[in-house]
């Protein structure tokens, strides 16, 4: 009972006035049984929530809308993470999530990929190892390290950094998962262990400044790693600075109509809205058009919070469909993204929904790399 009491207080649930802004804004509430407002009410009535068999708990994408909207600073998603923790501790979790967690522990990535192949993508690109000393650590992340499609983003970013003469290095085969999603699926123990290891690794390499491909890595280093006193930037922030300072100039142009999808972990959760747009608008020839649901009102791609490892209770209805309809309604050829999860989720949905012939999903770095 005492542990449950502390759950109510830890998540500050007593502050809740049941206004429903969390559930009303939740992108999952319309397509699954997930109702976070009701969960909070249940927790208050019963002193806790028995999460056994609540499959919808795994639907949450940790997009952060509920946290952003809550007028009482309750942080509803903390409750979801806490309930997931009880399920993880009890061993009752979707097998694919279990496998991903085991893989992170054993291989340092969630996809059962060999650790010694982590830096294969960078071969022949002339990228130095951070051990040689560099101003900036480029933290690549798991998906851009191993996934064929996402590797193109990493390669593009390398091209951009080299063009701008940035002194940067990578961790190579020593790089491991940042564990943002590990924390969000409730595996607190593994997260704590990996944070410790990662922090020591950064310290031993003398890292002062990190840039990341993924908003998820960016978020966890910036907000969740206790005692990490480094400058952490998402690449869009860093590259926007390079462009503004005149260190990166364009030689080509892209004659395309481009719109931009805000990744939740970059926009809603960390307030980086302008830099990605500034980069796209600075590319010569581009016509930039905004969609309706942008910035604070952006629609989630459904890739976060462990959903890369589990398809959810209602895989048939995809938010991506609504997103592509919006892209078409503004007449854009390209939907630019700035997150590997968004990139893969949308590409998959585009193929499944037949949007791939009308809309290209490209990372901002791929666009930039084409114009330098």
């Amino acid at each position: 009972m005492e542990a449950e009491q502390s759950l109510l207080e830890r998540c500050d649930l007593w502050a809740c006035i049941q206004c429903g802004k969390c559930t009303g804004g939740c992108p999952m509430s319309f397509k699954t049984e997930l109702n976070i407002r009701r969960l909070i009410y249940q927790a208050l009535l019963d002193g806790g929530v028995n999460a056994d068999g609540m499959d919808e708990l795994w639907d949450c994408t940790a997009c952060g809308t509920c946290v952003l909207r809550c007028p009482k600073e309750v942080g509803p998603s903390d409750l979801i993470v806490a309930l997931r923790t009880t399920l993880v501790d009890g061993g009752v979790i979707p097998p694919t999530i279990r496998d991903a967690l085991t893989s992170v522990f054993r291989h340092g990535n969630p996809s059962l990929m060999p650790p010694d192949e982590r830096a294969d993508w960078a071969e022949a690109l002339g990228v130095k190892d951070i051990s040689e000393g560099a101003d900036v650590l480029y933290f690549v992340g798991c998906i851009p390290s191993y996934d064929d499609r996402a590797q193109k983003v990493a390669k593009s970013l390398v091209k951009v950094l080299q063009k701008a003469d940035v002194d940067f290095g990578i961790l190579g085969v020593e790089e491991k998962c940042c564990c943002n999603e590990v924390r969000l699926v409730g595996e607190e123990g593994l997260f704590g262990y990996m944070v410790e290891e990662q922090r020591e690794l950064f310290e031993s390499k003398g890292v002062q400044h990190i840039i990341t491909t993924s908003p998820h890595c960016f978020n966890t280093f910036k907000n969740e790693y206790e005692g990490l006193n480094l400058k952490v930037q998402h690449y869009t922030e860093f590259v926007a600075e390079l462009i503004e300072q005149g260190k990166l100039t364009f030689t080509g142009e892209l004659n395309q109509v481009i719109t931009y999808h805000d990744p939740c972990f970059l926009g809603k959760q960390n307030g980086v809205f302008d830099e990605p747009r500034d980069i796209i608008k600075s590319i010569p020839g581009v016509e930039f058009r905004e969609m309706d649901r942008i910035r604070d009102r952006s629609l989630c791609c459904e890739g976060g919070g462990g959903r890369m490892w589990w398809e959810g209770t209602n895989p048939e209805e995809q938010l991506a469909t609504a997103r592509f309809e919006e892209v078409l309604s503004v007449g854009a050829d390209v939907m630019a993204v700035a997150c590997p999860f968004c990139l893969l989720t949308f590409e998959l949905a585009a193929k499944a929904g037949g949007y791939d012939e009308k809309v290209q999903v490209l990372d901002i770095m791929e666009l930039v790399a084409r114009a330098i």
Partner: protein, 571 residues
């Protein structure tokens, strides 16, 4: 003259006596130097308790009194009056706080008694060295300044003027009326707001005792209750230079009002992004224009079929620092829903609410009426507005259904809350007023001093103190006027007796004391190169005396020898 001290130990019922052995404390005090008599009594502050002291003063020739009881904040004035009635200077009284600082905070009777004895002995030591102080009155300038020409300011000025005193109304804008000038109808009585306002404005402008200064602002306030000197800057047009004038007033009423919450700070509602998302005030403006133009529909001809109202926009919201309820939005939304229903008999009108606060006279009945006019109240605070084709969609959870819903709308009206004025800090520092946690100007006491402030002679009226409807604003304006009229009518006011005393022989004129003084009570006499203390401005805080490097300033009633005697008796 040797000190003859009487010591009186109060039981405070059982508040003190339960923890402190009051008889033992009285016994011990008997043996202290200069103590003539020592007694204990169940309630010293009662009439017989005070009588006990007064009889001893007269019969035993006491010239100092120590009362060991509650905090001096509670009854120091009571006992000062008592000793004064018996012929002693009121400042020959010393309170020993053995309740808040002893019995209430300790459990062990023996050590609490010992501590009480220490407190009493130090009070006796101090009492022997107390000096008589003079009580002084100052004359009151028979006029008041009212800052702000909204309904609060106008009403307060009218009451002061009707009582026969001069009132100056200083208004920043070119016209008076404030936010009320933007409202169509009142709730719950549906009166025409502009008719009410026009009546108030006309009366104020025609009143021989009222000067209305529009396009004007208060630049500087000097002085104190009874004789404030106020610099007012006036600029009738941007092209003209600002002219300044000095007003002399005895009291000041602050009625500076509020700002409307900026709805674009809640980006999820798309205010600014969608032209069909408007604020309640913008709706009222359309309704007023429609009334003025004799029936042209304010909402377009038949284009509006669904209207959604959203409550609590910018209120009850910790993320914005606006944790409070704005108090008027529930009813103004109900009123607006009623007015829209009159315009659009067939429209679907939905009000999204978190709680409906219909607490005033006739409010609940009005809320009933509006629902019966087929206004649908749905419980839930929408999380997002977006577009579907040409229509808006409000996405919310209907918390009574426990289901997320999408409600299409042609018009979304946001009930934006009331926030402190962006220049609240300026007004605050001009008049040395503090702000409460919500950012509004702070009253002296939430219950007992709702229109008073920590600055004597300065009073609050209307929404500068917190959100209010018209009824409450008028009530508070009348209360502030009545409070301001007390010193104006009495014609004089008693000022603090415990002030600083400056020894010009020790002063080097360095000015450190003036820097420490927040009441601007110290100034340099350049001819003699010494500081001079204004005994009326001084509030007796003592900051100057600690700042002075040469010991030239002491705070009367807290002189170094008095304080040292207190300390020495217990160490």
């Amino acid at each position: 003259m040797a000190a003859k001290v009487g010591v009186y130990i109060c039981h405070c019922g059982i508040n003190i006596a339960h923890t402190v052995d009051v008889e033992a404390v009285a016994q011990a005090a008997q043996d202290l130097a200069n103590v003539t008599v020592s007694r204990d009594y169940i309630y010293m502050c009662s009439d017989p308790g005070q009588q006990l002291i007064q009889d001893d003063i007269r019969e035993l020739g006491l010239n100092r009194v120590v009362v060991a009881s509650c905090s001096p904040r509670m009854h120091e004035l009571t006992f000062r009056r008592a000793v004064q009635e018996a012929g002693l200077n009121p400042y020959f009284l010393q309170i020993a706080n053995i309740r808040e600082q002893c019995s209430w905070v300790h459990g062990d009777r023996e050590s609490a008694t010992e501590k009480a004895q220490g407190i009493v002995s130090s009070a006796v030591a101090r009492a022997c060295l107390l000096q008589p102080l003079e009580e002084r009155d100052v004359e009151i300038t028979p006029a008041a300044l009212v800052i702000g020409g909204g309904i609060a300011g106008l009403q307060a000025a009218l009451d002061i003027a009707d009582a026969g005193f001069k009132a100056y109304v200083v208004e920043k804008q070119a016209t008076v009326g404030g936010h009320v000038a933007q409202l169509a109808r009142t709730f719950p009585t549906l009166d025409n707001v502009q008719t009410l306002l026009a009546e108030l404005v006309e009366r104020a402008q025609a009143h021989p005792n009222i000067d209305v200064l529009t396009n004007s602002r208060v630049l500087e306030v000097d002085g104190f209750i009874g004789s404030f000197r106020v610099q007012v800057g006036s600029q009738p047009a941007d092209s003209l230079p600002e002219t300044t004038a000095e007003l002399a007033v005895g009291a000041i009423i602050v009625a500076t009002g509020f700002d409307v919450f900026d709805a674009s700070l809640k980006p999820e509602f798309g205010y600014g992004a969608y032209e069909n998302v408007i604020t309640g005030l913008e709706l009222e403006k359309r309704l007023m224009e429609s009334e003025a133009s004799n029936g042209a529909s304010p909402l377009g001809d038949g284009a509006v079929k669904d209207v959604v109202f959203i409550q609590c926009v910018g209120s009850r919201d910790r993320t914005l620092g606006n944790a409070y309820c704005s108090r008027v939005c529930c009813m103004s939304t109900a009123k607006q829903a009623h007015l829209v229903r009159q315009e659009l008999p067939d429209a679907r009108i939905t009000v999204f609410y978190m709680d409906v606060r219909a607490f005033g006279k006739g409010f609940e009945q009005f809320y009933d009426r509006v629902r019966e006019e087929r206004v649908l109240y749905r419980r839930g605070n929408p999380s997002e507005i977006y577009k579907r084709g040409d229509r808006l969609v409000a996405r919310a959870e209907d918390t009574l259904l426990g289901k997320p819903v999408e409600v299409e709308a042609d018009l979304v009206v946001l009930a934006t809350g009331l926030v402190p004025r962006s220049d609240a800090d300026e007004i605050g520092s001009l008049l040395k007023l503090s702000r409460s946690e919500d950012g509004f100007l702070m009253e002296l006491h939430p219950k007992l001093g709702p229109v008073d402030t920590t600055t004597d002679g300065v009073f609050l009226a209307g929404c500068c103190q917190g959100p209010k409807d018209i009824t409450d604003t008028i009530a508070q304006a009348k209360a502030a006027a009545s409070s301001a009229l007390i010193p104006l009518s009495v014609g004089k006011v008693r000022v603090e007796s415990i002030t600083c005393a400056l020894d010009p022989l020790l002063c080097s004129g360095c000015g450190l004391c003036a820097e420490a003084c927040i009441y601007s009570a110290l100034a340099l006499d350049e001819r003699r190169n010494v500081m001079v203390a204004n005994q009326v401005l001084c509030k007796g805080c003592g900051a100057c005396s600690t700042a002075c490097p040469s010991g030239a300033i002491v705070l009367n009633h807290f002189t170094p020898d008095q304080i040292l005697a207190e300390v020495e008796s217990v160490v």
